[in-house]
Amino acid sequence: MNEEYKREHVFGLDYGTSDFKFGPITLGEVPEVVENRGYFVDSSSLMSRLMGVRKEIVVGRDVPMFLESREELAKRMVYPMRNGIIPKDDERAWKVIEELTKYALEIFAPEYDDFQGFYAVASISVVAPRYMYERLFEVFKEMNRGRVLIRAATIIPQPLAVAIAHKTPTCTVVESGHGNTQVCPISMYPVRDAVIALNRGGDAANILTAEILKDAGYGDLAKEESLVRKIKEEIGLLPRNLSEAIQFAKSNPDKVRASLKIPGTRVKIDLEDLSWTRFLIGEYVFNPGHEIFQSYFARGMPRPGDVKIGDTYFYGMMDMAEAVITSVEKCPIELQPYLYSKILLSGGNFGWRIPRGLESVATTADLKSKEMLVEKGIENVEVVVTGDPKFSVWKGCIVYGYAVPIDYEWRWERMEGWMNVA
């Protein structure tokens, strides 16, 4: 096996909390994306046998074709990475990871004879414990039962992948996906003792969007999670200053009015005089402690709570700037200015846009974060939203796999290098 072969067969696998992004180096800049979930089919049922369903578990794009009632959905659908951590003994979750990995590799594994497996670079949460690394390597070994799909593998934390993709050795990475947010200072390697995890991501904004839809008379739609997510992405706005944005919306209702038609359906949503609530969606991601959200909590909307998973605390209500400051202040004082001077925002939760006509009140994730940090007295802040924030982890996996030579073997003490699994 030579270096040239490896460079042509690097394969990135980003196990996000909601989406699984994957693909070989040959895909260019955009990976394939499927939901990080698996559906356990009731293979004992008569209908399954009649229909010739042989699979125990379905992943990828075929999942919607096997869905049953809502009650069954809750029992049979497994989202293995909801918090970024899979419990050691959660065999169903590990089974989903195994199936998803196989699904991804088989889409791209070439049929020619001289194919001897991919060089797989996987990326998982920075708070993932060591047993997840061990188990994932086991999963990769399992992939080679029939034919060799993986020659060697390595695993890197998601924030490090972001830093690699942007060639920034000293920075603070804020990775915010569907289920959680990781704030991780990086000084060549992730400063693990300084990592702050938040128990909220895009899903928190989805929950608020569902409440807004209920208030606007669309309670029936609020139950459909993927639809709510789509509505959030279409109508949600991030305010520069929430009070001023609401005031603007109330005095300029036509400029802020949100009306949306779901393609391929008869569903049309119009928030009418509640269109000002569009600004709440973005604010909630950055600052759920704002007093305006109390009324939602009082009416039963779940408050993002502090939880302990494994050895890691996930904070629920800490605002985004506070999380960055708390994380950076755990690092040596000499390093802190450098960490503030390069903050990389990555993940689908930072893709806020400014619609035309709302430039004075709406903002983007980088500007919002910078303003919040400046308000708390931090100087010389530079915040950047990574290009294609959803894919920067996958891109980092590809860059890492390409650069690390094949003879650099995995070392547990440094958690880097290639583990031969073939």
Partner: protein
């Protein structure tokens, strides 16, 4: 699902082992008026990004967003001074992939590798039907660059050549 249907072009510069290095390559690009700023290179309105380089320093990957064949050729002409050869990779998705497959006379519906000779250069074409993706790569050196092969292949894959109107053709013939 997110799809990028625009072409993504990567240029892989294979450096001459022993007597060239990454810094020499950057100097050659600067001599070709490509300005280097951090991981980005620019010339006028066009940009390239340094995507990665091998730890051995024998190979550098650049990503070009521009679908302009002149830019691709200009960039490669500057880089080839320090390179053993250059590999060009096209990563096409969705409609762009289907169009390129049609232009090359192949079908996207089958996962396989095709070897196709165009303008004296061997193209390696990999199709991934499940992802509606097509990857095309080929190698060039001085000789191919001097024959404007890159531009011709680019036009074949992306179909950028502006079709002449009937009037243009008639007038051209009359001249």
């Amino acid at each position: 699902m997110l799809r990028d249907s625009g072409p993504c072009i990567r240029v892989v510069c294979k450096l001459r082992s022993g007597d060239s290095d990454v810094e020499a390559l950057f100097r050659a690009l600067e001599a070709g008026e490509w300005k280097l700023a951090g991981p980005k290179l620019s010339k006028g309105e066009f940009e390239a990004e340094i995507l990665s380089s091998s730890l051995e320093g024998d190979e550098v990957i650049f990503s070009l967003r521009s679908a302009n064949p002149e830019v691709l050729e200009d960039f490669s002409r500057a880089a080839i001074r320090e390179c053993w050869y250059i590999e060009v990779h096209y990563h096409l998705r969705a409609e762009a992939a289907e169009k390129a497959a049609e232009n090359l006379g192949i079908k996207l519906g089958e996962k396989r590798v095709f070897r196709i000779k165009e303008f004296g250069v061997q193209l390696k074409v990999e199709s991934f039907p499940a992802a509606r993706a097509l990857t095309i790569s080929y190698r060039v050196g001085w000789g191919e660059l001097n024959r404007n092969v890159m531009k011709k292949i680019h036009e074949k894959l992306i179909n950028t050549k502006s079709p002449k109107s009937l009037l243009d053709r008639i007038m051209g013939w009359m001249k």
